[in-house]
Symmetry: C2
Subunit: 114 residues, 2 copies
């Protein structure tokens, strides 16, 4: 059987959410230097990727992503220090879930039909 996977989505007070889609997009932007390239890598339209970036920049006190030229045709994008910090926190959180939760995840997996 393939390795079990999990999705962890966080919900905060003012309808703010952060989960694997936004985290993957931030990671893609950091690696690709572009919102459209990051979205493409995830099979996501530019519009959807841009919408997620706008949502993140609206939810957080300081922007997580900075467009170096901006606009839909624009050039590059990069994570701000704030964006890198949020991504690092979420990545660490997911690693903790995988590590500390491994016994329970394995116990559930062991009860499934093979």
């Amino acid at each position: 059987m393939d390795e079990p996977r999990f999705l962890l989505r966080l919900f905060f007070g003012r309808d703010q959410r952060f989960g694997p889609g936004k985290a993957d997009l931030l990671r893609g932007i950091a690696e690709e230097g572009s919102i459209s390239a990051a979205g493409k890598r995830m099979g996501m339209s530019y519009k959807r990727a841009w919408g997620l970036v706008e949502a993140m920049n609206a939810d957080f006190a300081r922007p997580l992503v900075e467009s170096t030229r901006g606009g839909p045709k624009g050039g590059g994008a990069r994570l701000t220090d704030e964006g890198a910090a949020v991504l690092a926190d979420y990545t660490r959180l997911a690693a903790k879930v995988a590590e500390t939760g491994a016994p329970e995840i394995a116990a559930i997996a062991a009860r499934l039909k093979p």
Copy 2:
């Protein structure tokens, strides 16, 4: 700000999934002794609740829920030992996420707009 919340959904090899909806439904069945009462408590149609029970019973090697009379008009339902064990594992997993992940969840929350 309200307490942050999270959703944790598990994905296994053969398109099998287990997450908060199914866990809440199992908990409701354990407490209410009925699939329809458990679903109603979650604002879920009987059809939807029954569909989730059927999916769980199909995904796991042994059924998680036993209808004591069965059928849509049927009477009671209860968790099997297997169902109670899966619910306990998932509940423990969620508690671990809340506990070990608290610093990262708080760090992300602290960066949001207040």
